[in-house]
Symmetry: C2
Subunit: 298 residues, 2 copies
């Protein structure tokens, strides 16, 4: 039996929230259905954030009430305790919270200090533990911050230790701006896997510099077996053609399968979901290997 790699599909949240085109709730449910049909084991459905701040995510509660299939690990991003409560009320029992590793990123992104952000995260983690809600805690800008530059590995290791004390279901190291390199990824993830084991860890890469697959390979070498990815690589800035968003689900699946892991993804159906996404967005989506994969599945 080959070892399994779990891909958490985030196009419907991290991908769509960056698009100028706002998909309807019906479109987003259709997209989730297509992704579920392609066999993704974990599926982020949206975020419980203010629709004024992120109109692309409005109606995530409606989506939660109309999930395409029953037996799938659905999750949603919650920005704070209010979002946590809204998500729970909507029936979502697996949440993502994001804490940036630097002071400036927290200040600029959510107008909170780093310390306040971590205290909020700990409160959510502690409450979730008592209520049986699983939390994936994301450490954002864990390699480089757009305001502060390079982020030290030692700082990240300390922050992870602080969060691990509050028992997240998963701690995800996030290269939010796509600035990580594979040597830094391998070094950090090896230390984390050695300390906490692979079950508690995940990686979230953006493919801005085309090093996404090299970073996934580096993380695999370090023992990481859980990765976020976005169908079609959705999430890039729509005003910079060629600037990719999240590492593409189809690219990650191809890489993992090529070196002997199983992902349980159905590639032709995944490419169908990418085609649906392209149609909805009104612009061609697709990972780095889109041409090759399309030919294979034709």
């Amino acid at each position: 039996m080959s070892e399994k790699v779990i891909i958490k599909e985030v196009a419907a949240r991290d991908g769509l929230q960056a698009q100028p085109q706002h998909l309807t709730v019906e479109q987003r449910i259709a997209l989730l259905a297509a992704l579920a049909d392609a066999g993704v084991p974990e599926l982020e459905i949206g975020s419980f954030v203010s629709p004024k701040a992120v109109p692309q995510m409005a109606g995530t509660d409606e989506i939660a009430a109309n999930l395409p299939v029953a037996d799938l690990a659905y999750s949603a991003l919650v920005p704070n305790m209010k979002g946590y409560e809204l998500a729970v009320r909507a029936g979502i029992r697996s949440h993502a919270i994001a804490l940036a590793a630097t002071e400036e990123m927290n200040q600029n992104n959510i107008r909170k200090s780093l310390e306040d952000t971590f205290v909020m995260g700990e409160e959510i983690l502690d409450r979730a533990a008592t209520e049986g809600v699983a939390i994936h805690a994301y450490l954002a800008v864990a390699f480089e911050c757009p305001y502060e530059g390079a982020v030290s590995e030692a700082l990240v290791l300390d922050q992870v230790a602080r969060l691990m004390a509050h028992k997240p279901a998963r701690l995800v190291i996030a290269d939010t701006i796509g600035a990580a390199n594979p040597a830094a990824v391998q070094s950090m993830m090896q230390k984390l896997v050695d300390r906490y084991g692979p079950e508690l860890l995940g990686c979230h890469f953006h493919d801005t510099r085309a090093m996404g697959l090299a970073n996934v390979y580096a993380a695999l070498l370090a023992g990481v077996r859980q990765f976020d990815a976005s169908a079609g690589g959705l999430g890039g800035c729509p005003f910079a053609p060629g600037a990719k968003g999240n590492v593409a689900t189809e690219d990650v699946a191809m890489l993992c399968e090529s070196i002997g892991y199983t992902t349980d993804l159905n590639m032709p159906k995944l490419l169908d979901a990418v085609a649906l996404l392209s149609e909805m967005i009104g612009a061609p989506q697709g990972g780095r290997a889109h041409t090759w994969l399309s030919k294979q599945c034709a």
Copy 2:
């Protein structure tokens, strides 16, 4: 001092030979001048092959007589002993020879048996040794053959041993069709580096499946420090948009520099060479990270 990675720039040979547009000798000299100006330490100028078979490479002798700068490691591909003699007559003292690892690839590509190809290669290597000509011996389709499928690592290791006995200046493992995966690359290159040391080895990757940079990272982990690459990723099939050719010089340089190696390449000048190439070819060229690199160098 950081460790050095040597990039052998092959756009003017492996890239151009696949293009339907035939550049003039003057254009090719201008391209080589732009690449030399960008600081590439090794530069393949063309091939001494029949102009009937590969008209794109006609006039490589004229190019050899008009090289842009003196102190650069120029080389040319020679398909056989006649090509070897033509290259020597043209003043080129560093040649590439390519031997496919499978029977079918040799039969289909050059209508010779695998054994005849290897005997020819050994004759060229032996003669070059007596005449002070450096040979880079390429083992083509070293991971997968378009006719025979997966190529066994044991077979390649044996073939490398056979060729090493004839003292090539470098033995280059070539993923001719872009089918390698990083785990296979790391496994094979680790064994070869352990046996022969990094100075005698190189890797040549195509980026068909977008795993080019992951493969470069895997080879770097194994100790490889010499890579072929092609400015702009030139070399893909011109009829399949998005199908990349050789791994792009700018992508490889970016990866290497990001993890602390030096390449001595000047990125803005390299992107100028890619722009010149785009203009000559009449279609935009560029590696996977083109958008990001262009913004960095703007």
